[in-house]
Amino acid sequence: MNIASFMFYFFEFAAASSAFALIFIRNVFYGALLLIICLLALAGIYVLAFAEFIAVAQILVYAGGILVVIIFGIMLTTKISGKPLVVEHMYELSGTLAGLSLLALLIYVISRETSFAERAVYQQQYDSVNRIGIDLMSEFVMPFEIGGILLLIALIGAAVTASTIKSK
């Protein structure tokens, strides 16, 4: 087992276990931290899948951006001191049932396709960052711009929604 394989299985294990723990965790803050672990692990997996740009974007946007926002949300919607933040569970049976059946189904489908097991990831011939940059400005310029507009709208919308200033 070379170091890359070790890293891969370590990241897989980290992602899977943190996601699994996330199901049972009752503390929202811990949940957010577990999600960070999971996302960072995923970033590592992306690197190992030769998608460095996505990996860094994952860290920058998810781990650095969204999670901070989520933590903000946690702080704003829970009491700082006093009782610990405990999240109740409900529909445990339905949720478990749905999750397990979906998992079983997906595993069945994936295992049925033998080419997945034989095919290994490999490094592409092209420089992926370069390729992404060029594609974003040529082939995908339209979705890229729409994404930009979407982000702007979300930014303004979130700011207005969360603002406590009373609209007249």
């Binding site: 699994f20 946007v61 529909y91 095919r119 979407l150 969360a162």
Partner: protein, 101 residues
């Protein structure tokens, strides 16, 4: 190197876990976390499937846009959660059922 199936198994597991979280958790922020998890699972799949097409970068591109959308979703969702919390003093979605009756 590592077979693609392993990525896909991880993605499936993450997605299922996210689904369970979405259904089971009583706190809206936890639900949001679950949704993020599901989005990431799909992202993982997209990146993985990009490997199946050597000359294409569309999978990664798609993952990039998913991230963009996830950012928007998280920002707006959290804004709503905060607003709802200020208004109802709760972040449990089941308690906000004024439309029910």
């Amino acid at each position: 190197m590592f077979p693609i199936a392993h990525f896909l198994y991880l993605g499936a597991f993450l997605f299922s876990a996210g689904l369970v979280i979405v259904i089971v958790k009583k706190n809206m922020i936890m639900v949001l976390l679950g949704i993020e998890l599901m989005l990431n699972a799909s992202n993982l799949n997209l990146v993985t499937f990009n490997q199946l097409y050597p000359d294409s970068i569309q999978g990664q591109m798609f993952a990039l846009f998913v991230i963009i959308v996830a950012v928007s979703e998280a920002a707006v969702g959290l804004a709503i959660v905060i607003k709802v919390y200020h208004y109802y003093q709760t972040s449990v979605p089941d308690e906000i059922n004024e439309l029910k009756d």
